[in-house]
Symmetry: C2
Subunit: 373 residues, 2 copies
């Protein structure tokens, strides 16, 4: 069996579990954060540096890679793994989220979406079949179904229509996806409407795909809404499949989701914050540009094994950010990704050691920080 | 003896030699290119990556570090080595070149230079004593004398005045420099005027410092002028001291200079070209943005051991540059620095093996490329 998901430990007090998701490029130990490599590169990190963060599965964006360099070039190179020199598991999103958030949409109907390229204005059509063809050409280990992610806020009837379309598209994705060494994950939508979420979970679960994702969260809704969705959906997802909460990568939200049985997470925030000079330290966000770091010769985070923390001081990182040096942006990105990976690894250890409920749920930054990362 | 220069091999047909320059932070095997780490970072490279290029001695700029973060901060951190986490030999320039090329000069006289900071417009005075104090605070292994580098073109009397001032300032630098674990190098000026160059070489050599540099080349003069200066000065420099040709880092010019007994080189070009998407390959400059690389899945330079060449294809590098990804800029910088270091290492090997004159002098790109790097 090319793909498989084995649950290796369970928290006795919550739905949290440790899992091993097998892919053709190796096993992903869950729960685990997945860094985002939008254009076939995690911004600012070389692949050896990416490996040092503890990353196992890495994301890439179908929308961006279709526009540049084109999936034909990637396929010619031998696929995305060869192209970006990442030998571990890879996942591509379907492009749906980017089409709806970045694209200048010309037409959208049950067939698919026509939009203008933000690069050169050319007309691009994306359908479930096209999204599958592109992802099969890219050749990641996991492909995501083409879905319609409604904006927030949206009316109940808008979200209901998007759900219906998403489910219809999922059937078409599954019908045309035929690549044995690539798993297709379905996506649960439903916005903030509980009954639509429940219905979507039922429909997507019934497809019995190798994994299931929850999309349409972290799109602008209040944190409490997101927590409510996560708490509602946790028990409704098929136990034996990996659960991927899309676009979520803050400590608190990952802890709440792991307690509900979610396994995989992704978020552009660690690299975006890093590029803007912000470091994730002890659950806080520190702007390294701030003058208080000018003469602080201590490590950024003494507990962190990343290159930025092991080798450099806050004063040096402050200097690099002030001097607008590339190295500052890349060291902070490295640190932030390492931090999220250490956090999900710490949760996995806590689940195995039976202290997850005490240390991570209910979420308390102090007790999480006290837990040995 | 903290500093020493031992000549370990000689070319029987030219003035080329291999040397071992001992510093408190290790031995520099010459001839060797020195990457430029302007603001205490070689742009785009982490220090482990810098080590992988074969770099031994690295440059940093006194002018930039004085403005940001300030030498007091660097000294407080334990000096430049600790601050930038580079444990190998370091050299700081005197700031003179930057003052004369970047600064808005208010006043210049025999005492020193007053200029306005390009950062915040504040008034800064740089004198030989101040330049020494800053460099002693930074704590590199080698400090450079504060000199006046005349522009090109300049009249004979302008260059003569700049030489006189440079020699006077060198005496003041030597008089106030008192850091046993830091070597002071003098700088020969003289523009394109042979008799001024000869006189300057005589004066600077007479100071009997641990090293001697030639400045005021690669400032806009025709290549033939530079070659003439290098050929004239080679035999005039004190044999037993390391010879540093400042600001020169092209293959042809380094080969010509090594044939004249020069040992050390620096240049911002490899990182500047890299940031702009240009790679040094086989003596040529390739713009990776060019469409001809879009589907070229071969390594950038199959003979090069750097990460960019070992792990990635021209098509991937092309994609990164087109997508304006940081990684593209940093991989090309890494490759370009590696190329210059491999080139100087190849010259060293050729000197030891007795084939330098045949393979590198007179300069012929084909025979140099044929030489196993």
């Amino acid at each position: 069996m090319t793909f498989g998901f084995a649950i290796t430990a369970r928290c006795p007090h919550t739905r949290a579990r440790c899992g091993a998701f097998s892919t053709p490029h190796g096993v992903v130990q869950t729960p685990r954060f997945m860094p985002v490599g939008t254009a076939a590169t995690v911004k600012g990190l070389s692949t050896p540096q990416l490996g040092e963060t503890g990353a196992q599965m890495v994301l890439a964006n179908t929308f961006h890679l279709h526009l540049q360099p084109g999936e034909d070039v990637v396929a010619e190179a031998g696929g995305l793994h060869r192209f970006m020199a990442w030998d571990g598991p890879l996942l591509t999103d379907s492009g749906g989220f980017q089409v709806f958030s970045l694209g200048a949409i010309n037409r959208i109907n049950d067939d698919g979406v026509v939009f203008r390229s933000p690069r050169d204005g050319s007309r691009i059509e994306l359908t479930p079949e096209r999204a599958m063809a592109i992802q099969m050409a890219l050749g990641a280990d996991v492909a995501m179904a083409f879905d319609q992610c409604p904006p927030y806020p949206a009316t109940e009837s808008e979200v209901e229509a998007a759900c219906r379309r998403t489910h219809h598209w999922l059937e078409r994705c599954a019908a045309c996806h035929n690549k044995a060494d690539q798993a297709l994950f379905g996506i649960v939508q439903g916005g903030c409407y509980g009954h639509l979420r429940a219905e979507s979970a039922r429909v997507v679960a019934a497809m019995d795909l190798p994994g299931i994702a929850v999309g349409g969260v972290s799109v602008g809704e209040p944190a409490e809404e997101m927590h409510r969705i996560v708490r509602q959906l946790g028990p409704l997802l098929p136990e034996a499949k990996p659960h991927y909460l899309m676009g979520v990568g803050s400590l608190r939200e990952m802890a709440i989701a792991v307690a509900q049985g979610f396994d995989l997470f992704d978020c552009v925030l660690p690299t975006r914050l890093g590029r803007h000079g912000t470091a994730l330290v002890g659950g806080e966000r520190w702007n390294l540009r701030n003058a208080r770091f000018k003469r602080d010769h201590t490590p950024l985070d003494a507990s962190c094994p990343c290159l930025a923390c092991r080798q450099h001081s806050r004063a040096y990182l402050h200097h690099l950010i002030r001097a607008e040096e590339m190295l500052g942006r890349s060291l902070l990105s490295l640190h932030n990704i390492t931090t999220l990976l250490r956090f999900t690894t710490a949760m996995a250890r806590a689940i195995r050691e039976g202290c997850f409920a005490e240390d991570f749920a209910p979420w308390d930054p102090a007790s999480a920080a006290a837990h040995t990362w």
